[in-house]
């Protein structure tokens, strides 16, 4: 057994080798799938393993996780280097999140990412960091979604339905109550949506980009007894898209029109595409038809009524680059997947016109009748 520095130096052939020999031995902890146990005991055993290692064996640890990109991330504790600060933060975040998840799972309560972030703002620095590290945890453990952690993003989407909507595996206050606009309830991938009443009155499902328009439409519930309205307030979150996907599956046999309305700007088109396409099937809503607002219609409307002038604005450099990027994307997609040709052409024509006119417009100026009756 080598014990002195002199001996170590003698045995080492190079400086590098010596440094390696001087480094403390680390125990490697692989974050991985565990098919046998449920997530709670899996997290618990991992936490226990690391605690034991540090407390009882006085040994450092190296946690190996998988990135959403597919590469692996290694975080060491303790870490001897000038860059140690960053590493310490990383392992602290990782352990804090694991601990939080464990607590939430034990107490069976659901919390939002926002809650987790505000639990220790000093450590996380930004909410996106929390999302990022949850992504790492999710991928390392081979989970389909992070819902199983009992940590969900704060709800963003709103919906309105003229009939009650129920979800299996949801608590009572999570159902969608008829004729009342409210947040889209927390649902998980395996929850099922159903209704008890007759739904033949529903002829339309309308998705709207803007909350303002959504609110305008839901003021008089009697006018929209034939519609289910959904808004994602700008770019939709996964919950809104999951909800639409469930609705789509539920209504697949009935003859209902699916429509999406956004601002007449490149971001509006981008938002519509977000609803329509996602790599993961469960967040798709392929039935949606892009119905505008089209720039040409808003311009025509402005020409007819000069009081509505304010709604037409110049494109910003960011809009221009987004529009160019989207046109390219759509054109490539049309080549590889001709099935969506007509749909993509509508998007492309709209973007081309916005670029050629150098203008964008907001959907707010369209009249309510346009959405309900068109």
């Amino acid at each position: 057994m080598v014990s002195t520095l002199a001996q170590l130096m003698q045995n080492a052939e190079s400086k590098e080798e010596l440094i390696t020999k001087l480094e403390p031995q680390l125990r490697i902890v692989h974050m991985s799938k565990d098919a046998d146990n449920d997530i709670k005991s899996h997290v618990k055993s991992m936490l226990g393993l690391m605690t034991n290692c540090v407390e009882q064996h006085h040994q450092g640890i190296e946690v190996v996780c998988k990135n959403p990109k597919g590469t692996s991330t290694k975080v060491k504790f303790p870490y001897e280097s000038m860059k140690g600060d960053q590493q310490i933060t990383k392992i602290s975040i990782l352990l804090t999140l694991l601990k939080t998840v464990h607590n939430k799972l034990c107490s069976r309560e659901v919390s939002t990412i926002r809650d987790v972030y505000y639990g220790n703002t000093e450590l996380f620095k930004s909410q996106s960091k929390v999302v990022q590290w949850f992504g790492v945890l999710q991928h390392s453990m081979g989970l389909k979604s992070r819902d199983v952690f009992n940590v969900v993003p704060a709800q963003k989407g709103l919906c309105f339905s003229p009939v009650n909507l129920y979800f299996t595996r949801a608590t009572a206050d999570n159902d969608v109550v008829a004729n009342k606009a409210g947040l889209i309830p927390y649902i998980s991938q395996d929850s099922r949506l159903f209704w008890k009443e007759d739904i033949s009155q529903i002829r339309k499902i309308i998705v709207i980009e803007k909350e303002a328009v959504f609110n305008k439409l839901t003021i008089n519930p009697n006018d929209i007894q034939h519609c289910i309205l959904v808004t994602g307030k700008g770019y939709p979150d996964f919950l809104t898209r999951l909800f639409l996907n469930k609705l789509q599956k539920l209504t697949h046999s009935s003859d209902i029109d699916w429509e999406v309305y956004t601002d007449a700007d490149p971001h509006g088109v981008h938002i519509s595409l977000k609803y329509l396409n996602n790599e993961e099937e469960q967040y798709n809503c392929q039935k949606l038809a892009f119905k505008g607002a089209f720039i040409s219609r808003l311009v025509n409307q402005t020409l007819d009524d000069t009081n509505k002038l304010g709604q037409i604005l110049d494109l910003k450099p960011r809009d221009i680059s987004l529009a160019t990027k989207l046109i390219q994307q759509l054109s490539t997609e049309t080549e590889t997947e001709p099935t969506n040709q007509t749909r993509n052409k509508t998007f492309k024509t709209e973007l081309q016109r916005q670029l050629f006119y150098f203008k964008k417009a907001e959907m707010n100026s369209l009249s309510i009748d346009f959405y309900i009756n068109s």
């Binding site: 040409s296 402005t302 000069t306 037409i312 450099p317 221009i320 054109s331 492309k348 081309q352 150098f358």
Partner: protein, 431 residues
């Protein structure tokens, strides 16, 4: 005096998507569209030919094409060159060389790797009538820069400075000789070019970057034009126009503040600008809210000399005067510079007498005008009516460019509309 224009030929459903631009040269009328192709419509149709049968279609880029500009010249040694430059929605410029007789075309690669990296919007050719000045090509990019290239048709490049000096000395010599010869007989200086030189000419169209004009702040540059008097003008989406000297690319004038400034309602995007053929006037089309204005500038001193307006009797618009009840998309002078054609969102083409600034003709377009009934497009894919289609581009056509009765002696017009049609007109009367 009013003018009357008669519809001669029209083609409905000329493209599969919106047509954004038109350009006319002697052999062809070229249109470009969001469907990604440009089409070359033969100008001289025989009696039994229809426009659609003889059209040459060139697929350019899948993202769609929004600008096409053509250059048609006959160079030394009788070399006929017909080049088309077009810009796709991906911001790339594509060049094609067309053999006028056979209609065969060939894609050219005229830009270098660094130049290709930019995202372009508008392009323009300048056909030089002066032996000592090169043809030019200009393109604006989305950041507001205007790039200018010299176009050289042959491997041997023309050195403008040298040629200019040579011309001056020749002129001086001429003048001296004129002074010496008492009888006033002018002896011609023998031409420099000889047969041997002509034989050495190797056709190799290429562009050499002259430089770029930068805007005061980065704004979308929407249009560009050259004047025969050595100026280049760029229009911007914020309503300003920058005029620079072509030889040095130094800005000399900045026109700003059309209409009312400061509010979104009064956005005044410049959509088109054109120098008159002699270069003494610059016509600028810009928005005034949802209306379209055309303003004329004199180019020697950069003075505004008036606008083109229609009388209004509307109670809603008390301020401002406009040329079209909708954005003005394009302008085109006739060959003498006496008349200016404008077109706009209001589905009208107007022809103005430049001197008196009065309207001499208005053509009202309607989707139903198209001769072949099945080619009429009344609504677009979104279900919006195209009954009164916005006119996206207009070009004056010189005498004897189009075939058919009366075209030899009368000028004409060509316009492209949102109902995906191309229409040709000829001025009535005279023979």
């Amino acid at each position: 005096m009013s003018k009357i224009f008669i519809s001669t030929v029209n083609v409905g459903k000329a493209h599969d998507a919106d047509i954004f631009g038109v350009s006319v040269v002697n052999p062809f009328t070229v249109t470009c569209s969001g469907d990604g192709s440009i089409k070359l419509w033969k100008n001289k149709l025989l009696d039994d030919e229809s426009a659609k049968d003889t059209v040459i279609e060139v697929f350019v880029h899948k993202t769609g094409v929004h600008h096409c500009e053509t250059l048609h010249t006959v160079e030394k040694g009788g070399n006929e060159i017909c080049l088309i430059a077009c810009v796709s929605f991906s911001g790339e410029i594509f060049f094609y060389s067309v053999d006028v007789k056979s209609g065969k075309y060939e894609k050219l690669d005229l830009l270098n790797a660094a130049e290709k990296k930019r995202s372009y919007w508008a392009v323009k050719w300048f056909k030089s009538e002066d032996q000592v000045v090169c043809h030019r090509f200009a393109a604006t990019d989305v950041k507001g820069n205007t790039l200018v290239w010299r176009f050289h048709p042959f491997t041997e490049e023309l050195d403008e400075e040298k040629a200019m000096k040579q011309k001056k000395t020749d002129e001086e010599k001429n003048a001296k000789r004129r002074g010496e010869s008492s009888g006033g007989e002018i002896e011609k200086v023998p031409k420099q070019e000889d047969d041997e030189q002509l034989e050495n000419l190797v056709l190799s169209p290429h562009l050499v970057l002259q430089g770029e004009i930068q805007p005061s702040n980065p704004i979308f540059a929407t249009c560009v034009d050259f004047s025969g008097k050595g100026l280049i003008a760029t229009g911007f989406s914020n309503g300003s126009v920058q005029v620079a000297q072509l030889s040095t690319l130094r800005p000399i004038y900045n026109f700003e503040g059309f209409g009312i400034q400061g509010t979104d309602q009064n956005s005044n995007t410049v959509r088109a600008l054109k120098f008159s053929p002699m270069g003494s006037l610059l016509a600028v089309a810009n928005d005034s809210g949802s209306y379209g204005c055309v303003t004329l500038y004199e180019t020697d001193y950069g003075e505004r000399i008036g606008g083109l307006t229609v009388p209004t009797h509307s109670t809603q618009t008390s301020i401002g005067s406009y040329a079209h009840n909708g954005w003005v998309f394009d302008l085109s002078f006739n060959s003498t510079g006496e008349y200016l054609a404008t077109c706009g969102y209001d589905s009208k083409v107007r022809v103005w007498d430049v001197k008196s600034k009065e309207r001499v003709s208005t053509i009202n377009l309607s989707a139903g005008d198209i001769e072949i009934e099945e080619d009429i497009l009344m609504v677009d894919e979104n279900g919006d009516s195209l009954k009164n289609p916005p006119v996206m581009g207009v070009r004056y056509i010189n005498k004897a460019v189009r075939g058919g009765m009366g075209s030899e002696t009368n000028e004409g017009l060509c316009c492209v509309c949102l109902d995906r049609s191309v229409r040709w007109y000829r001025e009535a009367g005279g023979s």
